[in-house]
């Protein structure tokens, strides 16, 4: 089976700024593929290239075997694009917007109602309301309905969940799972790392470069060290204490104290706040018990140290630091 999307060495520059640098990837048919990265990573530029809206400075991309530059007209009939900023007509009603999109693609709401039903049904009671007066979550559902009304084979969703509350985000991802089971290939971007787990595969993207592509599970397993969650009710004191540890005495290694971290900077104790705990990697040869002992000595008794499975964000942080 040939790939649904193939991108080869995509580079894009805006004047002196390089938004994308040598980006290559392939998406399988029917896949829910996520681009995870912060603002300014290049996600929107990449999606605009995929949606045939801009021509890349270098490289090429095909969707469904059609080139995004040469075959853009044919391609547009097969893709549904949802831009990051709400781009529907604010002074048309919900129903008018949907009708408008259907008409442009030479179809009707009725003809493709089945596909949009699970989503559209939720906003149908408000069909006479102006789009500009909808809540964030409802706008998002309307935009998705409009992107689907011509029954595209592929969806390009640029940050559909940004600024949307956790409940609407959960609902939105459930809708995407439903669409994937209809056989629609979906690429979606998000700055929320936890949403990565909802995708079949993800690409981590930062500063115009792809840091890694794989299934969320394999990405998590690619973390290079053992990771521990350290907890103490006084989170800030804990963080300061961890940062101030001159070194962690590793009994198995005969190193003069104070030189340990300097000797192996890449394996130094690494502490990052994560929710209710601090995620820590330990220098080699150090046991979790050594850490609790060191923290007690530093005046913070009663910490707990548990080994944990790294999350996507842990991996992202590690890859970002490696890039720097």
């Amino acid at each position: 089976m040939s790939a649904a999307i193939e991108a080869y060495n995509i580079t894009h520059r805006f004047g002196s700024i390089t938004a994308l640098e040598d980006v290559s990837f392939a998406v399988d048919p029917g896949e829910l593929f996520g681009f995870i990265g912060p603002d300014g990573a290049g996600k929107t530029t990449l999606f605009r290239i995929a949606a045939t809206l801009i021509i890349p400075t270098g490289g090429n991309m095909t969707l469904l075997g059609l080139d995004t530059v040469k075959d853009y007209r044919a391609l547009r009939n097969h893709i549904g694009y949802m831009p990051g900023r709400f781009s529907l007509y604010q002074d048309l009603t919900v129903e008018e917007n949907l009708n408008f999109y259907a008409t442009i693609f030479g179809t009707t709401i009725k003809e493709n109602y089945r596909l949009i039903e699970p989503i559209y049904r939720q906003i149908e009671p408000f069909r006479k309301r102006l789009a500009g007066r909808l809540s964030g979550g409802m706008k998002q559902k309307l935009a998705l309905s409009c992107a689907l009304i011509h029954k595209p084979r592929m969806l390009i969703l640029d940050e559909p969940t940004t600024g949307v509350d956790a409940v609407s985000r959960t609902e939105f991802w459930e809708m995407l799972s439903g669409l994937r089971s209809e056989g629609i290939t979906i690429i979606v971007s998000t700055p929320y790392m936890d949403e990565a787990l909802r995708c079949d595969r993800i690409a981590l993207i930062q500063s115009g470069k792809i840091l890694g592509i794989d299934t969320p599970e394999k990405i998590r397993r690619s973390y290079s060290q053992s990771l521990y969650a350290v907890k103490h009710p006084e989170k800030y004191r804990l963080l300061l204490a961890l940062r101030s540890l001159p070194c962690i005495q590793a009994p198995s290694l005969e190193m003069p104290s104070g030189h340990f971290l300097n000797a192996r900077p890449s394996h130094a104790l690494n502490a990052e706040p994560f929710g209710d705990s601090v995620h820590v990697t330990l220098p080699p040869g150090t046991a979790p018990a050594d850490l609790t002992a060191a923290l007690t000595a530093a005046g913070l008794p009663g910490t707990t140290v548990t080994e944990i499975v790294p999350g996507i964000e842990d991996v992202f942080l590690e890859l970002m630091k490696r890039e720097k």
Binding site: P38, S135, D165, V167, D194, Y236, L317, M320
Partner: protein, 247 residues
């Protein structure tokens, strides 16, 4: 953390016509506390924050911010608070130093004090090399950090942060939270809204709003225990998800 209360809200109601945006809100925020304010879109968070900042008056109820009555003296509140939002924070066509000076001036600080403290601030943020850079040319992460520093430049009693970390990279997000911790440790109360549920865990206490009401208010640990969930995210979905949603 002392027990002094810097925000006291009792029976706050705000109506727009027949629509009740805030329905009898009652809560306190203590000095030096990091107070998380969560809720679904449209739950009434923004309305409440606008009242706390002196930008809108309550329909009824008693609201005191930094000891000032929000119904009677909203203008006075503005002098005692700092504010930063994701959407607007700094003037893009002014330089880093110009922005700091502008805010210092607006809050009535003396030129001499502004000068010394600008210098201090730039060094502490490791921003000295950007002092003459236009905000427009700064990466988002740096901008957000500077915006926060500017919001507390005049040593307000409370700083309101409205989704301060939306879209910033994970490294900057963590540095940002360390700045929040530092600020709270200095005794400045931090009132923060966020869509990142893991950030709710960084707060001393969180409140969750739904349909104009406060439906939960406690420490993240106590809430997790009470609702028997592993994370604030699960808790949030459990509390605010409409039961009628059928997919």
């Amino acid at each position: 953390m002392t027990e002094r209360r810097v925000i006291e809200v009792e029976g706050l109601v705000k109506k727009f016509g027949s629509f009740v945006a805030n329905d009898h809100l009652t809560f306190d925020v203590r000095k030096g506390e990091i107070f998380g304010f969560l809720g679904a879109n449209g739950a009434g968070k923004t309305t409440a924050i606008r009242i706390l900042c002196g930008l809108s008056r309550p329909t009824s109820g008693k609201v005191t911010v930094a000891g000032i009555d929000a119904a009677r003296n909203p203008e006075e509140i503005k002098k005692h608070i700092g504010y930063m939002s994701q959407r607007f924070s700094l003037y893009e066509d002014l330089t880093v130093t110009e922005n700091i000076e502008l805010y210092g001036g607006i809050y009535g600080m003396r030129m001499k004090e502004i000068g010394t403290r600008t210098e201090e601030l730039l060094q502490r943020l490791d921003f000295t090399r950007y002092s003459d850079t236009l905000i427009r040319s700064l990466p988002l992460g740096l901008r957000q950090k500077l915006a926060f520093a500017v919001a507390v430049f005049h040593d307000p009693e409370i700083v309101f942060l409205d989704e301060p970390t939306s879209g910033v990279d994970p490294i900057t997000r963590r540095q940002f939270w360390e700045m929040i911790y530092e600020t709270a440790a200095r005794g400045i109360t931090v009132f923060v809204t966020t869509h990142y549920m893991d950030e709710a865990e960084y707060c001393d206490r969180v409140t969750i709003m739904n349909e104009g009401r406060i439906v939960a208010l406690d420490t993240p640990a106590a809430l997790r225990e009470k609702y028997d969930t592993d994370s604030v995210e699960e808790l949030f979905v459990k509390i605010t998800r409409p039961k009628t949603t059928a997919l």
